[in-house]
Amino acid sequence: MPDHELLDPDAISRGEALGLLARRVVEGYRVGEHRSPFQGFALEFAQHREYTAGDDIRHLDWKVLGRSDRYYIKQYEQDTNYVAHLVVDGSTSMTYGSGKVTKFQFAKALTACLAYLILNQRDAVALAMFDAGTQEYMRRTDNLGKVNHLMDRLAAYQPGEVTDLRKSLEDVAVRARAKGITVIMSDFFDDEEAFDKGMQRLSFGGSEVIVIQVLDPHEITFPMDGTWRFLGLEGEEQIQTSPRDIRKSYLESFDAFRKRVRGICEKYQAHYVLADTGKSLVEVLSGYLAFRQAIGRK
């Protein structure tokens, strides 16, 4: 099955199917990979162990090798067990989609894949769904057997109110007491100051933050022609206009917004990933994971 066909809206709405989707994506990814991209980052040194074939030579302790002529690998405390907080924006703005999937559906699929990937390498996953606040929270679990339960919760969630990023991220920061990775999936159509505050709070908590901005290709390129009436998803007043006439100023404004979001990410040393829902899920996921692995080798 081609990648893009994995994203069937019906499939995403059912937990079992969502799990199957995640497994296929992840398994497909792992065929060529032997190492988790989430392993060993910014974690404290725990012990040495003897090198065995297949270990990443970047983790060789060169000092020990120099002194004793023996191969030892450095191991870190979190290397084997960390918590990944998957934070998904479930506000109404995420329900937009110019194609067959909405941004929220895309985000859910992406979340499922990440959860499956992380649980599969025996790390823990916690799930938070928010809009004006945290609406759905699933405590951390490292039990792969609970993956189906997680998928069901994810699939059953229906978007609700408008976004309040600051409040939602603060909630997540409070709940994610342990250091780990926080992956935020949202369109970030709240004001940037709220996002900045939320990021600040998460960073103080010591989490590594990955920001995945989920956007529809129409939002990115604004390609419509003729006269359109736009109905706001979060209670905004409707606008009737000719997109051709305002395309330039819209795109300028939208690009500036993305730059600001990216700028906030850089400020708090968070990875910024653009998830274009017009692209395939695999392309988005593998693109980022490859980038992450490349970063990890340095």
Partner: protein
């Protein structure tokens, strides 16, 4: 045009439908949309406006193009040969001046040839009416006809007349004819020598032209400018009453209408077709000047005589001679009515008058033509005035109503009345008398101040003999006292006759003035007679006039002027009817006439009864010269009269060419379009705009496309 609009509207409608078909979508990034709308609203509005204007302009230009707008301009009457058949009224001037020759052809002949030539150039379907015009239009072919052969035949018959010219009347007639014509190209072609006096109605003609822009007026001038002409412009009997056996005085005026002086002009005078009996030589007449000579003819037989003056021939023959007619009397009875008719003869009020009227010695008085009788004023009432030609009232006291009626009846019947005031004259009684209602002037107040008669500028026929180089002056005549004269204000309706009837009164004329401009003698017509009123006495009591050498000719000329008023009008203008009362025994009898240039007697009519009078009437007087009327085989004419051409016909100066152009190019009057009978100008298409409009529309559409493309391109 509506179809074209519909076709043009189709793409616009499609565009508008697309423009207003609104699609709907839910949208998350409303915030950026709002910012985009806000920032681009003004620009979008401007762009939309520009595109809207361009599209509207394109539609407008296309619609205009489909209406095929054109620039039209009036068709100028430049030539006969123009596009399309022509309907023309041709007016050929045949007034006396058209007899002027260039040595080979007369102006009439030139006009005839021009018309002939232009008929040959007419396109098929053209129509033509033809009029000979002088002082009246004479329809040869009254309505435009395609039968041009008929026009040609009428043209061959065209001859000059001795009539004057009235171009206004001719042109008005032509406009009337053409106004009712339904044809497109209508023109009036006026062939005339364009004499300046003939254009007296120029402004009215110009107005006609402006009121009828659809009918072109083309004036084709015949003859050259500045041609010389010497003419007799006046021949009249002067002085007193023409009497048998007495020398009768005639004045002949010769005018030089050329641009060069003329010398040694021989003027002859002949009576009744006989050889000239008198002649005079005018040494020199400057250009544009008139010189007069006085000649005498002795007419022995009482009755009607014709007198002809002649000068050497030139290129306009008709004015080289001029004829007048006079009625020579055998005896004229005059009544002298004296306020003071008793006492010594020299003290009587009529003494000086009697001597002036019969200026011959007492032994010859009985042979004198004038039979003078005198009565006191008291006997006038009831006196039979029927036989008297003129009645003089000297120093009358007060008229009774009966006397006023008697005198009025006498004057209205053709009598002459002369009034002199005096000591006996009761001013108040005259002012309140019924006579004040019909006398040409009344005495208003007694002025006892010294005054003099005018010394120059004598214009009235009675006094016109004075003021000339050899005529002397009345300026030395002094008045110690006079009754101020107030000329009567005659209502206009009384000075105009009804139909053919003569007017009842004429406007009073001042015969003589005082040096201060106050009237001294006033005369006027009352019915068939005339009345003259003096402001001072006929005796030396108030004035030295009776002692002045001028008194005799003044009285003679006054007598002649007043007595002439009762005779038939013997000098006519061409075309005027001659009419004269004859004895009743001639009633019903036929009469014959000899016309100018011929001794042949032609039957001319029968004596008719009119208002209880036997009247001879003759109308065919278009030719200038002498006419004699005979009954049976009489050797002497029973009546004679003369026809004289209008002196203006001798004036060959022409209307300036610029004015002819004004007629041709006259702009139509805006208000004329509202009037009935208005003829719109004939227009032709001089330029069609549809092609430039199509090109302009294409350019606008192209500009719109480029701009629309530029504005709608991806602006990223």
């Amino acid at each position: 045009m509506l179809g074209a609009l519909a076709v043009v509207a189709v793409p616009i409608a499609i565009h508008l439908i697309n423009k207003f078909r609104v699609r709907q979508t839910k949208w998350a990034a409303m915030r950026f949309l709002q910012e985009g709308v806000k920032s681009s609203r003004r620009k979008v509005l401007l762009q939309d406006l520009i595109l809207l204007i361009l599209r509207c302009l394109a539609v407008l230009l296309l619609v205009l193009a489909f209406t095929r707008p054109v620039l039209r301009e009036e068709i100028k009457a430049t030539d006969y040969v123009d596009a399309g058949p022509l309907t023309a009224v041709v007016l050929l001037d045949n007034s006396a001046s058209m007899g002027q020759s260039d040595g080979v052809k007369t102006r009439l002949a030139m006009g005839r040839e021009s018309i002939e030539e232009s008929i040959g150039k007419l396109e098929g379907g053209s129509k033509m009416a033809f009029y000979l015009v002088s002082d009246r239009p004479n329809a040869m072919v009254a309505q435009p006809t395609p039968d041009l052969a008929r026009v040609r035949r009428s043209l061959e018959m065209a001859e000059t007349t001795d009539r004057s010219t009235d171009l206004l009347r001719a042109v008005s007639t032509a406009y009337q004819v053409l106004r009712t014509s339904p044809d497109d190209r209508r023109e009036i072609h006026l062939y005339t020598d364009s004499q300046l006096p003939a254009w007296d109605g120029f402004d009215a003609i110009l107005r006609l032209r402006q009121e009828n822009p659809g009918i072109a007026l083309k004036t084709l001038v015949q003859g050259a400018r500045g041609e010389d002409n010497l003419a007799i412009v006046n021949l009249e009997q002067e002085g007193g009453v023409p009497a048998a056996g007495q020398p009768t005085r005639f004045r002949v005026d010769v005018a030089n209408f050329g641009e060069q002086p003329v010398s040694n002009i021989r003027v002859t005078l002949a009576a009744n077709g006989d050889p000239p009996s008198g002649e005079a030589l005018i040494e020199r007449i400057g250009p544009g000047s008139t010189q007069g000579v006085t000649l005498f003819v002795r007419l022995d037989e009482p009755g009607f005589h014709t007198i002809e003056a002649a000068i050497p021939p030139d290129r306009l023959p008709v004015d080289n001679q001029r004829t007048t007619a006079v009625q020579v009397v055998d005896q004229l009875k005059v009544l002298l009515v004296e306020g003071k008719g008793t006492g010594p003869v020299i003290d009587r009020d009529g003494y000086y008058l009697a001597n002036a009227l019969v200026p011959v010695s007492s032994d010859r008085a009985s042979q004198y033509f004038l039979d003078l009788a005198a009565i006191p004023f008291g006997q006038l009432s009831g006196f039979n005035l029927e036989d008297y030609g003129v009645v003089f009232l000297a120093n009358p006291s007060a008229p009774t109503p009966a006397l006023a009626d008697q005198l009025k009846g006498y004057v209205e019947g053709g009598g002459g009345l002369v009034l002199f005031p005096g000591e006996n004259t009761d001013l108040a009684a005259w002012r309140t008398s019924p006579m004040a209602q019909w006398l040409p002037a009344i005495w208003t107040q007694d002025v006892k101040e010294r005054a003099q008669l005018q010394g120059q500028d004598y214009v009235h026929p009675i006094t016109s003999v004075w003021g000339t180089e050899d005529g002397g002056s009345l300026g030395k005549v002094e008045l110690n006292r006079h009754y101020q004269l107030l000329p009567r204000q005659v209502p206009p309706e009384e000075t105009e006759g009804e139909g053919e009837a003569a007017p009842r009164f004429s406007k009073p004329q001042v015969v003589l003035e005082l040096a201060n401009g106050e009237p001294a003698v006033v005369e006027g017509q009352v019915g068939a007679g005339h009345v003259a009123v003096f402001n001072t006495t006929a005796t030396p009591d108030w004035t030295n006039l009776p002692l002045h050498p001028g008194f005799v000719p003044l009285m003679q000329r006054t007598l002649g002027y007043l007595e002439g008023g009762r005779r038939a009008q013997l000098v006519l203008s061409p075309g005027a009817a001659f009419e004269m009362e004859v004895p009743m025994d001639l009633l019903g009898r036929d009469f014959t006439i000899t016309r100018p240039g011929s001794d042949e007697r032609r039957p001319a009519g029968r004596v008719d009864l009119e208002d209880g009078r036997a009247v001879v009437r003759y109308r065919d007087t278009a030719q200038a010269g002498a006419y004699h009327i005979y009954f049976d085989q009489d050797t002497r004419p029973t009546a004679a009269f003369a026809v004289q051409i209008d002196p203006a016909e001798s004036d060959l100066r022409q209307l300036p060419g610029a004015d002819i152009e004004r007629l041709k190019e006259a702009a139509p009057l805006a208000e004329a379009a509202e009037r009935p009978g208005f003829t719109a100008p004939q227009m032709k298409v001089s330029y069609e705009f549809w092609l430039p409009l199509i090109w302009a529309a294409a350019l606008v559409v192209l500009a719109e496309m480029i701009l629309a493309h530029y504005m709608s391109r991806p602006q990223t």
